[in-house]
């Protein structure tokens, strides 16, 4: 049993799932579900289909080059079984997975960096331009504040505790 990768979307194909297509030139195409299979039959290029890993890698949405990917290569020259090596390998697999996940999260963070600042700027601009949708022009003339004033409400200690208990 071997966990293969889907040719179209690059997800893992578990036993009992998907379809394998063998072309006349003996190239094997494995698909994880009929969605990928049907897209393949429509001759769609996975590099142009937004939700596939191929697209995401190509357009820099996901990590491309990393040393953790080297460990998952298919090996054609096996080594003699050694119990210690196997034990170490199993431990290493877990660790490598963790490292890869953290690196991918870091990549995502880097990609999304500065998004908040841009969103804030865009929000301020929109507020300035379209304040007429929120506050009537007459009200603006009275006081040109475009934000609501803050109101402080005093709450006694016993009341606050009582609310928490009810929850």
């Amino acid at each position: 049993m071997r966990l293969e990768k889907c040719w179209f979307c690059s997800s893992t194909i578990y036993p009992g799932h998907g379809i394998q297509f063998v072309r006349n030139d003996a190239k094997i195409f494995r698909f994880c579900r009929s969605k990928c299979h049907k897209n393949f039959k429509m001759k769609r290029n996975p590099r142009k289909v937004k939700w596939t890993k191929a697209y995401r890698r190509l357009h820099g949405k996901d990590m491309t080059q990393d040393s953790t990917f080297e460990f998952e290569r298919k090996r054609n020259r096996p080594e003699r079984y050694d119990r210690n090596v196997t034990e170490m390998t199993l431990k290493a697999i877990k660790k490598i997975d963790k490292i890869r996940v953290t690196r991918e999260a870091q990549h995502h963070k880097m990609r999304m960096k500065g998004k908040k600042a841009i969103e804030q700027e865009a929000a301020i601009k929109e507020l300035e331009n379209s304040i007429n949708l929120v506050k009537a022009p007459a009200a603006l003339q009275q006081g040109s504040e475009i934000t609501l004033p803050k109101i402080k409400v005093k709450v006694s200690q016993s009341q606050a505790v009582g609310e928490r208990m009810e929850e």
Binding site: M1, A26, N76, R77, E79, R80, Y81
Partner: protein, 245 residues
């Protein structure tokens, strides 16, 4: 010594076994008869390994090997690959090949020094063969057939080829391979030599349908006959005796 055996009532022993000078691979059968024939012959000399390739029993036609290495098709599962690596001695390099033509036993005929391959084999595969098996590679056909691995059986001492091979072809192949060749049949006239028999430097196994004539041809070309003192002297007289007084 050439022996006649059967694999589950089939005479195509070369399909279900792979014999080399360093190891022997045997298919997994219902009864142990086939395996025990090889075990009886090779008990302590070379390892006899029961295996499957890609979940099938036709291992002799799927893999190609000699004492230096073993080449397996890309359809071999990881577990089978690991089993072979664990069971074979360390000098034998076990390698899985990504190749369009996956029946390597039909495409590659080799002994320990030289090999004949299917003319359409990839260049990378050819390099791998030269590297893993440590042989010189020749792209050839035998009697017009491109499946060289199935129409000839060669060992370090001799070779048997398709019966319809012309004499010129036979001479050409003989000079390439540097072994004496004979065009003959196996299993009562079957032309597919390598499927009907399997051979190494000191033993041969043929299908039980092989006639006595075919068997004697095999024994003489692969030099398997019991060495009697007189026969040795007869063959080596010219080299032993310098001059007659």
């Amino acid at each position: 010594m050439a022996t006649r055996i059967q694999f589950e009532n089939s005479c195509e022993v070369g399909v279900f076994s792979k014999l080399t000078n360093a190891y022997c691979l045997v298919a997994i059968g219902g009864s142990e008869n086939f395996y025990s024939m090889f075990e009886a012959e090779f008990a302590d000399v070379i390892p006899v390994v029961k295996t499957s390739i890609a979940g099938t029993r036709i291992i002799g036609r799927l893999c190609a090997g000699n004492k230096n290495g073993l080449l397996l098709p890309h359809t071999t599962t990881d577990q089978e690959l690991q089993h072979l690596r664990n069971s074979l001695p360390d000098q034998v390099v076990v390698q899985r090949i990504e190749e369009r033509l996956s029946a390597l036993g039909n495409c590659i005929a080799c002994n320990d020094h030289v090999s004949l391959t299917h003319p359409d084999l990839d260049r990378e595969t050819e390099e791998l063969i030269a590297d893993v098996l440590g042989v010189e590679v020749f792209r050839q056909t035998i009697a017009g057939n491109i499946l060289v691995g199935s129409y000839c059986a060669i060992s370090n001492t001799g070779g048997l080829v398709h019966p319809h091979t012309s004499i010129e072809d036979l001479d050409e192949l003989s000079t390439l391979l540097q072994v004496p060749l004979v065009a003959g049949t196996v299993n009562r006239g079957s032309e597919v030599i390598a499927a009907g028999m399997t051979v190494n430097d000191w033993t041969a196994f043929c299908g039980s349908d092989t006639t006595a004539t075919e068997l004697s041809v095999i024994e003489s070309v692969f030099k398997l006959r019991e060495a009697r003192p007189s026969s040795i002297v007869d063959e080596m007289r010219k080299s032993l005796i310098d001059s007659y007084v």
